[in-house]
């Protein structure tokens, strides 16, 4: 624990301790080192929801079989994707808008609790939202039969920047290098 890196790499240790110590660490959220785990959980939920909820339960009940049978396989896949995208975007808008505007307008810090007495901070909510956002585009990129080169480039660029921004927010020392890295990745994706 004497190693200087140990402190930055094990922020969960500070859970339950004073908020002052936490906010002095200058990062968005204590969950930042665990975004891989959050992204995995989100991707699993999205995959299961697509198959068990949307495709086999909700869509056959919401639309007549006439409407669904008329579509080709390609059209049905993009029809399912549109529903998935709309649902996830509504989830994102309802969860992320409040903490984002609270921080942007200066009413809250990323380390402020989301509601009085809550253990969840505004920053936690933004980090989780960024992972839902990434999972949404990963799903679209993998699931659709046909995707235009422009929207493919847009989705790739967006998720690379989103994840790079999360990484940059965690380790300030790599900020400068990380930016060039994103730019290169983005140009490559275009």
């Amino acid at each position: 624990m004497d190693h200087p890196r140990a402190n930055t790499l094990t922020p969960m240790v500070t859970l339950g301790q004073s908020k002052v110590q936490y906010s002095s660490r200058n990062s968005i959220s204590q969950l930042t080192p665990y975004t891989g785990l959050i992204l995995t959980a989100t991707t699993i939920i999205v995959a299961l929801a697509r198959f068990y909820l949307l495709q086999n339960a909700i869509l056959p009940r919401a639309y007549s079989s006439n409407t669904l049978d008329k579509m080709s396989g390609l059209q049905r896949r993009s029809f399912i994707n549109h529903h998935m995208a709309v649902s996830l975007k509504i989830v994102l808008l309802t969860t992320a808008i409040y903490p984002l505007f609270a921080i942007l307008t200066g009413k809250a810090l990323p380390s402020s609790p989301l509601s009085p007495g809550s253990k969840v901070t505004a920053g936690d909510m933004l980090i989780i939202s960024s992972q839902i956002f990434t999972a949404m585009y990963i799903f679209e990129l993998s699931f659709r039969d046909e995707i235009s080169p422009i929207s493919c480039a847009h989705h790739i660029g967006t998720i690379v920047i989103a994840q790079a921004a999360v990484a940059m927010s965690f380790d300030a020392k790599h900020k400068r290098d990380a930016l060039w890295e994103i730019l290169l990745c983005f140009l490559w994706g275009e």
Binding site: A85, L92, L100, I103, G157, M168
Partner: protein, 96 residues
């Protein structure tokens, strides 16, 4: 109040929020395009409304992002000053 480290993440989150709103309307329009494919009058109005929502959304997005760039510009490092406008132009091209 916010440190510079947070600025990058918050700007990206803000752009992401606009992206989510901008992408929401075409998805809804495409769902109705499949389910109400014989009601041409309705579809024409729906896509017209989608076009207007996209246009107003892009306008608001541009105003807000430019305002944020202007407010934060002096605090940025050189790499941010070069990278951010480039990324903005690239994304504007992708939207067209």
């Amino acid at each position: 109040m916010n440190s510079r480290v947070e600025d990058g993440f918050l700007l990206t989150s803000c752009a992401g929020a606009f992206d989510v709103i901008a992408e929401l309307w075409p998805h809804i329009a495409m769902i109705f395009y499949r389910t109400h494919d014989s009601n041409h009058g309705f579809l024409a109005r729906l896509f017209y409304a989608t076009m207007w929502l996209e246009m107003v959304g892009t306008l608001v997005e541009t105003v807000v992002m430019m305002a944020l760039f202007g407010l934060l510009w002096q605090e940025w490092s050189l790499s941010l000053k070069i990278a951010t406008p480039m990324l903005h132009v690239l994304f504007s091209c992708a939207q067209l």
